[in-house]
């Protein structure tokens, strides 16, 4: 009967309008909710035997631009990468102080230089001598502090990776849970569980901050997530990653892909069978927070530490090392040099320069003293210069053995001997004339404060028991982490006159040693390694200190610029995503008016049907 059909159609109209109202009110209520996408509904009429019987609400649809969403996820990762790098490097930058401030590292270095200059002018002034030592202590403190800051940042990075990995696991678990529900709902009802999908996408956004991801839409509204490097994170089942942070990060600890020797945490992917796969090395984390943290921990901050160590090494060497010149020696037609190795400490070098007559090439062989045979052979990186061959010589078995080792390293064209005491003689091959020796010199570390005029152990290794710093390469290289241990020799602090009196008979106004100290700091050029594997730079210690600040500051500036650029990109992508997905309240309100009208119209139909029925019943 037509009236009852009209009534039921009107009822279904009311129901559908109600449902629409729900969606509209949800849209309005969630207009500010992060990750909420605008929902739309659609209707269709139900036709039975060629006649409309009701209006149907088919499904709730999410309004979203999937391409924009993918781009958004990519840029989220990139932004968190540049943001993380910027956060850390701005701290490295800040540790050098404010430009021109008296506590800025370069000001401290300048002050030290100035007080050395003052010492040169008035070595007899007690307060000037004290000032030199105070300024030196302040410089070493600043270097110590900088090195500690860098290691603290590495430690932070280590813990941050752990946190990020555990977050990632949690997020993946949530994604798994929600995605399974989505599949179920989709399968059973054939409807889009839009709310669940919003939630899942919000988790994916969180995930994209930590790792660079690629998201594939698959059947039943499900997704597959993998890193851009191809590591599957979610495919029906969530991957499980693990990371154990080491709590004792220092300059000595480094990451290695061999879990037995690695002193820092690795990221492992746990397979269903419980097998652990090291995924730290894969490039899969580049361009995300975890990637940034790994890069900081193993690369950027390590380089900064190396530069600081290099500075500390330069300081100690500049003041502590002195040249031992070789003296010409001949035997028949053979020419060469004698050099006295008595003052060489572990890590000290003696250098042979010779010409290969046939090719005209100049060769440099740097022999480095080691005290343990286990330290041999040495790598070429031990010296900062690139043009030399490095040969470690074990001094622990006496001069005869040293001669044997040097002879073995040089080959038959040379005659190596020990003419007397601790003197080493290297001669060429005389008449055969295949090689010509240009020079044989040594550089020794002063161990006593009154050993020589020009050098003294001004800076010492304040690590385990204050010790002489000679750049030893026995076991762990002494240079590693020296920046955090370098300190001013306590004996010098006890007796500042030793800054002047290199011998007990020397007058207190004698300028020999102060001049040597100033020259060591501000005039004599040393060779420094700057970037890993890069060409060595030759500059004075104070120049190097400035160079270091400048380099790190520029790194920080670059990171900031990059981050700013990234934020602009991010804003654009975000805006595009918002345009497609966010709720326009005006539009919703207009729709509300429309629904109101529709509702009252439907109600009107019902009232009309009722009055018609009433009329019928009263007949």
């Amino acid at each position: 009967m037509a009236l009852s059909r009209a009534l039921s159609i009107a009822t279904s109209g009311l129901k559908a309008t109600n449902r629409d109202m729900e969606v509209v009110s949800s849209n309005i209520a969630n207009a500010n909710t992060v990750g909420y996408t605008k929902k739309t509904t659609s209707r269709e009429d139900m036709v039975l035997n060629g006649q409309v019987t009701a209006v149907l609400q088919t499904s709730v649809q999410r309004s979203i631009d999937l391409v924009a969403q993918k781009q958004y996820w990519t840029e989220t990762g990139a932004t968190s990468y540049s943001g993380t790098i910027n956060d850390y490097l701005s701290q490295v930058d800040a540790m050098f102080g404010q430009p021109g401030d008296e506590n800025a590292l370069d000001s401290l270095v300048n002050e030290f230089s100035k007080s050395l200059q003052a010492l040169k002018t008035s070595p007899d002034d007690a307060s000037t001598r004290l000032q030199v030592l105070n300024d030196a202590s302040v410089v070493t403190n600043a270097i110590n502090k900088a090195a500690n800051t860098i290691q603290d940042l590495r430690q932070d990075a280590e813990f941050a990776i752990e946190e990020a990995v555990s977050n990632m696991n949690e997020i993946l678990d949530n994604i798994e849970k929600i995605d399974l529900q989505i599949q179920e709902v989709t399968l059973t009802s054939g409807q889009n569980p839009a709310g669940l999908m919003d939630q899942r996408d919000a988790y994916i956004t969180q995930l994209s901050e930590l790792v660079p991801i690629r998201v594939e839409q698959v059947d039943n509204n499900s997704v597959q997530i993998s890193t851009t490097g191809g590591l599957t994170l979610y495919d029906v089942e969530a991957a499980n990653l693990s990371f154990t942070a080491y709590g004792s990060v220092s300059a000595h600890t480094s990451w290695s892909n061999d879990s037995a020797t690695s002193q820092l945490g690795s990221i492992y992917l746990q397979s269903t069978s419980g097998q652990l796969y090291d995924v730290t090395t894969s490039d899969g984390f580049r361009g995300s927070k975890i990637g940034a943290l790994l890069e900081l921990r193993d690369d950027i901050l390590v380089e900064a530490q190396n530069q600081l160590d290099s500075l500390a090494d330069g300081l100690a060497d500049a003041f502590g090392k002195f040249d031992v010149a070789g003296t010409a020696a001949t035997a028949g037609a053979q020419n060469g040099f004698d050099v006295d190795l008595a003052d060489l400490q572990a890590g000290d070098e003696f250098t042979l320069t010779y010409q290969d007559v046939a090719t005209g090439e100049t060769n440099v062989v740097t022999f480095v003293r080691v005290d343990e045979a286990a330290s041999l052979p040495l790598s070429d990186d031990v010296t900062s210069r690139n043009d030399d061959t490095v040969v470690g010589i074990d001094f622990s078995s006496g001069m005869a053995n040293v001669v044997t080792q040097v002879q073995a390293a040089l080959g038959a064209a040379f005659t190596v001997s020990n003419p007397s005491g601790s003197s080493l003689q290297i001669l060429d091959d005389g008449a055969a004339n295949t090689v010509t020796i240009d020079s044989l010199d040594a550089k020794a570390t002063a161990t006593g404060l009154q050993q020589t005029a020009s050098a003294l152990p001004f800076f010492v290794d304040g690590g385990a028991g204050p010790g002489i710093y000679s750049g030893s390469v026995d076991g762990v290289s002494q240079q590693v982490g020296f920046a955090s241990r370098i300190s001013v020799n306590a004996n010098l602090l006890n007796d500042p006159t030793l800054l002047v009196q290199y011998d007990s008979s020397v007058g207190i106004a004698d300028q020999t040693r102060p001049t040597a100290l100033y020259d060591a700091f501000a005039t004599n050029k040393l060779s420094f390694s700057f970037q890993d594997g890069g060409a060595p730079v030759s500059m004075t210690v104070d120049d190097y200190a400035r160079q270091l600040i400048s380099y790190q500051a520029e790194q920080a500036a670059t990171a900031e610029t990059r981050n700013e650029g990234q934020e602009i990109v991010m804003n654009n992508v975000l805006s595009r995503l918002e345009q497609s997905a966010s709720v326009d309240v005006d539009e919703e309100l207009a729709r509300l008016l429309e629904l109101q009208t529709a509702y009252s119209a439907n109600a009107r139909v019902m009232t009309a049907v009722k009055s018609m029925l009433d009329a019928l019943l009263t007949v």
Partner: protein
């Protein structure tokens, strides 16, 4: 591109508004600190330049501090040295041989003044600047010169100048008071012979106008002069001997042949008699004059030379002493070799380096100026030697010999102290230091210019331009205001407000 506002908010819009306000914050910090950035990173590409400029500024400030310190020292040294020069002239003026007025203390007023001025000069040499003795070479913690009393009388078993002088006088005079010369006549030949010794008179030359007299020498080692009389010379003809005295001065003893009566010491000898007699007459006159000369001029020379040997210790040397018994001594050697502990008046650093180089100051890149000094530099030691020597002897107003002694000594001291006679005078030190001072002043002037230039450059790199930042803030403020206004208006335009 920021999309149109839709609904309550837009994250992108919020980001833009937030960025504006953080930019505002940054500009405000810039304005209040006057710095472009709080970190080196914020300086961007200019960081290297900023660091370089700062290090140059610091270096120049270091140079300036050095110059200031050195100039303070130089001005004190200048004052001392100027007074020392004055003292030299004062003593030179008061050592007047023509006035033999001896006070009750058996010394002339000039001598007593000299003693006082020696004390003053020692005080000047012990000048301190900021606790540092400026005339002490590299040991500025040590007062370089000992006190007058110790110098003169010795101390703690070490002989002083009096003892040194006394021995020297005896060594130069010899037991017979003839200046270590042997005078003898055999037949018609008179011979005067030096002793093989570092002391006494030395034969320098002889000039002879006597006829019938052959003079040979000085020749041989030790040198001798032979005067061989073959017959009587003519009246009025002269024979004169020139001697070198211990202090390097020369004395001439002349005699004229005469037929008249001769008195010892009147410069004549009798030409009457056989050649043997004449030779003996020459010897007698020579011996008399020689003894008289040794007692006066010789003593003066010995006193001066003894004081020189005592004072001139530059380059690490020590006082020189007569080895063995003075009267028969043959060598002069260091106190150590002589085995006679002698006070070394200068106790500062006494190396072989140039005294000026004991203190250097770097006043510019690669430019160093030397301004050190030692109290025993030759010129100052020489002045002290003359002055102290003059202050020592005593005289009897009524003695003719003492008058001769005083006159010759005062003249020698006066001559020695007048700058014309000194190879290396104190004024030279003053001039050298004056040049050093000038170089420093020039450098300082340069530094002031360079510094202001560098500071301007540094300010440009690190600092901000107040007007520029203020203008930026104004612009930004109006941008922020208008964007807030616009945003708020846009949000007002929501349908929410109209239904």
């Amino acid at each position: 591109m920021i999309g149109a506002l839709n609904g309550y908010s837009s994250s992108a819009m919020m980001n833009v508004l937030r960025n504006n306000s953080s930019l505002m914050q940054d500009l405000t910090i810039q304005l209040s600190t006057g710095k472009k950035s709080q970190t080196y990173g914020g300086l961007g590409r200019d960081v290297g330049m900023s660091l370089g400029l700062r290090s140059q500024i610091s270096a120049i400030e270091g140079y300036q501090e050095g110059i200031e310190q050195a100039q303070l020292q130089l001005s004190m040294m200048n004052l001392s040295l100027e007074r020392i020069v004055e003292i030299g002239s004062e003593v030179s003026g008061s050592a007047d041989g023509t006035q033999f007025d001896i006070t009750s203390k058996n010394q002339s007023v000039g001598q007593q003044t000299s003693a006082t001025l020696v004390k003053e000069m020692i005080g000047l040499l012990n000048t301190e600047v900021d606790g540092d003795y400026v005339f002490s070479g590299t040991t500025t913690d040590v007062a370089p010169a000992l006190s007058y009393d110790r110098i003169v009388y010795g101390y703690n078993g070490q002989d002083g100048l009096i003892e040194v002088t006394d021995e020297r006088i005896r060594a130069d005079a010899g037991a017979d008071g003839r200046g270590r010369l042997g005078v003898s006549t055999v037949a018609s030949t008179m011979t005067i012979t030096e002793e093989a010794t570092d002391f006494g008179y030395k034969l320098s030359a002889v000039s002879n106008t006597l006829s019938n007299v052959n003079v040979t020498g000085p020749a041989g080692s030790p040198a001798s002069i032979a005067v061989d009389v073959t017959a009587a010379p003519e009246q009025g003809e002269q024979l004169s001997f020139t001697f070198n005295l211990p202090d390097g001065s020369t004395e001439v003893i002349s005699m004229t042949a005469t037929t008249g009566v001769t008195e010892p010491g009147d410069g004549t000898f009798s030409l009457v008699g056989t050649p043997d007699t004449i030779a003996q007459a020459i010897e007698d006159e020579l011996a008399f004059q020689l003894e008289r000369n040794v007692a006066a001029e010789g003593e003066a020379a010995s006193r001066i030379q003894a004081a020189m040997d005592f004072y001139m210790t530059s380059g690490g040397s020590e006082p020189m002493r007569v080895v063995g018994t003075p009267e028969t001594a043959t060598t002069l050697d260091t106190a150590t070799v002589a085995g006679k502990p002698t006070l070394n008046w200068y106790v500062g650093e006494n190396g072989t380096t140039n005294s000026r180089d004991t203190a250097e100051v770097q006043i510019d890149n690669g430019l160093e100026v030397s301004f050190g000094a030692r109290a025993n530099e030759d010129s100052m030691a020489r002045q002290l030697a003359y002055m102290t020597a003059f202050a020592l002897p005593t005289y009897d107003q009524n003695s003719d010999l003492d008058e001769r002694r005083y006159t010759s000594f005062a003249d020698a001291v006066s001559a020695g102290l007048s700058s014309v006679h000194q190879g290396d005078v104190v004024k030279t030190i003053l001039t050298e230091l004056g040049v050093a001072n000038k170089v420093m002043e020039d450098a300082d002037g340069r530094h002031v210019m360079t510094l202001s230039m560098l500071e301007t450059a540094s300010d440009e790199v690190e600092g901000i331009n107040d007007e520029e930042v203020a203008a930026k803030i104004m612009t930004l403020m109006s941008t922020i205001e208008s964007s807030y206004q616009a945003a708020s208006m846009t949000y007002q335009l929501s349908l929410t407000n109209f239904i």
